[in-house]
Symmetry: C2
Subunit: 514 residues, 2 copies
Amino acid sequence: MNGAEALLRTLVGSGVDVCFANPGTSELQFVAALDRVPAMRAVLTLFEGVATGAADGYARIAGRPAATLLHLGPGLANGWANLHNARRARVPLVNVVGDHATYHQRFDTPLQSDLWGLARSASAWQRSSTRPEDVGADAAEAVAASYGPPGSIATLVVPADVSWGSGAAPAAPRPLAPVPMVPPETIESVAEVFCSGERVVLLVGGAALREHGLEAAARIAHATGAKLLGETFPAVHARGGGLPDVEKLGYYAETAMDQLSGTRHLVLAGARAPASFFAYPDKPSDLVGEGTTLHELAGPAHDVPAALDALADMLGADAPAPRSPSIRPPRPSGRINAESMAAAVGYTMPDGAIVVDESVTSGLSVPAATAGGPRHDWLSLTGGSIGQGLPAATGAAVAAPERRVLCLEADGSAMYTIQALWSQAREGLDVTTVVLVNQAYAILQFELARVGTSGDGDRARAMLDLRHPTLDVVALARGMGVPAARAQDAGELVSLLERSYSADGPMLIEARST
Amino acid sequence: MNGAEALLRTLVGSGVDVCFANPGTSELQFVAALDRVPAMRAVLTLFEGVATGAADGYARIAGRPAATLLHLGPGLANGWANLHNARRARVPLVNVVGDHATYHQRFDTPLQSDLWGLARSASAWQRSSTRPEDVGADAAEAVAASYGPPGSIATLVVPADVSWGSGAAPAAPRPLAPVPMVPPETIESVAEVFCSGERVVLLVGGAALREHGLEAAARIAHATGAKLLGETFPAVHARGGGLPDVEKLGYYAETAMDQLSGTRHLVLAGARAPASFFAYPDKPSDLVGEGTTLHELAGPAHDVPAALDALADMLGADAPAPRSPSIRPPRPSGRINAESMAAAVGYTMPDGAIVVDESVTSGLSVPAATAGGPRHDWLSLTGGSIGQGLPAATGAAVAAPERRVLCLEADGSAMYTIQALWSQAREGLDVTTVVLVNQAYAILQFELARVGTSGDGDRARAMLDLRHPTLDVVALARGMGVPAARAQDAGELVSLLERSYSADGPMLIEARST
């Protein structure tokens, strides 16, 4: 058996049976081995950033890693930005990168590059297999490493001669490292904080924003009067369906400081200490106020829901927290703007939807319009690197073929990895993409004022303006085989959303704000 | 003056007055400063790989660096693949990357990443400015460093507080390092090789494939009977217009070994020793035969044309070399295939064109069909990283607004950085893009057999197949504001090429092979 086949068999044996791929010559052994390992599903992408972003979205929903298949240093580089988002989402991801044959590298041929430097900058674990005999064990270790805890990027570099060389064999799955429990004394000490009578904010993140953790956190807040906040950009936020609603910490420092104002104790459960997303002149980066004491109940690598359960038990917080009322916005009509778009989404939201939100400023009203809707999961842009939405929606749809994925984009954000639409069409994935076309990098128009510039000149404004030429995202979608339509008003947006939910396969809806 | 303005003024003062940009919040100070430094032309791109590839194409034609403007680690990562191609083209390029404010980095906020590791893996020179007072000098040094020799990537990282901080001032241009001359004794020793009476191959690359070097190399070959070969993927190859034609070293090892067969002396002038692009089982990577002695007349960092002049003088090679006959292929008709597409390009080629070739297998016949055409420059995919063509065409058109750029693509290759079309429309650039739609990663179909796999199963073949769904590149172009049309046969392809050459601005022509 050659190295490529041993790799695929090891991955499948370890529970990794989906691979998002953009192969080149050095990865053709893996391509050929697909016919011998039918349990591995390979999803072709036209650009590597689609492959890595899809693996991120897949892992957020499936709870286990997908593999990628990337071509040498440039392929890894093209996938790097969405590996960054996946790293921030703390999902497991097995990143497979082909390399030149071991003996070929000394010739420094055109595609040779600092692949190892790239791998190190992108991954928590990286290895280059040196012999066919090692590939199986290396792959099994990569899968185990990807689980962490916390979940992380494991990059396995496979030289071409290791792929085609014989003498390889699949390796058995490696045991996963246990997820550490928070020690009882930490839970006791945090419990005292909640009993102090002073103002407490419980900031939850990571797994604490999934159903189980969220229920426990809400019970604690309800029983103690503490304020419950969620981290700004969680990997997965369970919402709707009567789950407790949780206010998110604001993106802008001013908002977050208002939310945290007067906090005596800030308890972190799977979330990081609040800091401004960007720095601004004469504004603080550290959002933990001077009079606030930080306490960490559980770090991102801990079993956060178990820690919340234990804390709730200790506090006697067993009364159910208030539920979000089940309420949808009324059917909107008239012009399309951020509010009517949000109402259209909330009015039509299907049960069990997965929302992938990369709409930046355009989607700001959607969370409020959907909190009272049916149960859904909300996936955020965890690492701030634009170009994650369409790929993550693709991967989420592969992970959950029985659920509808709703991807919220703006025209600026959609263009980074627009090639994802082709893979959605190819795989017939149930993804509805709504692109709110505002013809601008609108967030940068806001930020331009905030960074304290005098940048109101024509040339500066032109750099944030997408009007010349206007992007026709309907044409772009159709060009990649995705049915698409333009909503002229909010009523039409409702109809198109309903149509997309009732049909199989992807659809893109352009909503032009007027 | 703030750091951003000092940076822009220093760049302009050092001769860098074009910037290909995809800014974010941390780069908004530069955006704002554009209104105060009108000599800097900023070209907006929708994806960072377009910005870096455009800077590569610009430098190949302008002979001086453009700047980029990229957003933090993910922006640099998205631009990395085309920086790799630019590095292999040995062009000067000043890569400007914004970073979080210096004091902000310890908070490890979402967009924080291993930016420095990325910068090191992408650049020959890298620096992070730490104070506004330093930005001017750092920028001047970046420009000088980018010139090498040889030309290379200089990455300047500018934290946001260094951009907005005051006390900065522009710096004067730094003197450029002289391009080293080849010592006379080397030229003498190589001259003896040519006088040995044994079989000599002169392999030229880099600047030796531009007009002056090519003339000298051809005179040497003509006078001595040596065989003249050009490197496989040169940055710029001057062709047509009666220039000496030069056979290129083949991409496939078998082809190259045939071309080099029986060589007693292989003389390198600005080219690297021949090696196979990829490794293959049971085939050599090193293409220098056992009985061949290597001689280096000039390395890529030398003044290669001057070395060739000196060698020609020493050999008395002053008789003009034979010219390529001025001959165009006849007007093609009938079905579109690689041959009729090449004939259509050759039949219509405008004088002074810049050809950017990323057509991979689809364009294999075009060089022969254009060698006898009018004077043109041919830009190759130097680093093998697909996604360079459309961006490089964009940058070349910015560098030479009086010339027509002809970009040759296939459907697979065009999709990596298709966003470049929008920048072409926005800037009204005279770029004609021909996309030969073969609905496959055709090169990988060839390579699959060559890597010795048994990969003829349906699942392997599906991974190299772009038919499901078919890409409609006409729709994609129109969606980004570029006029586009589909050629149904070779005659129509001729008409559309002629139409594009007679109109201002970009046009895309889809040629579907049948």
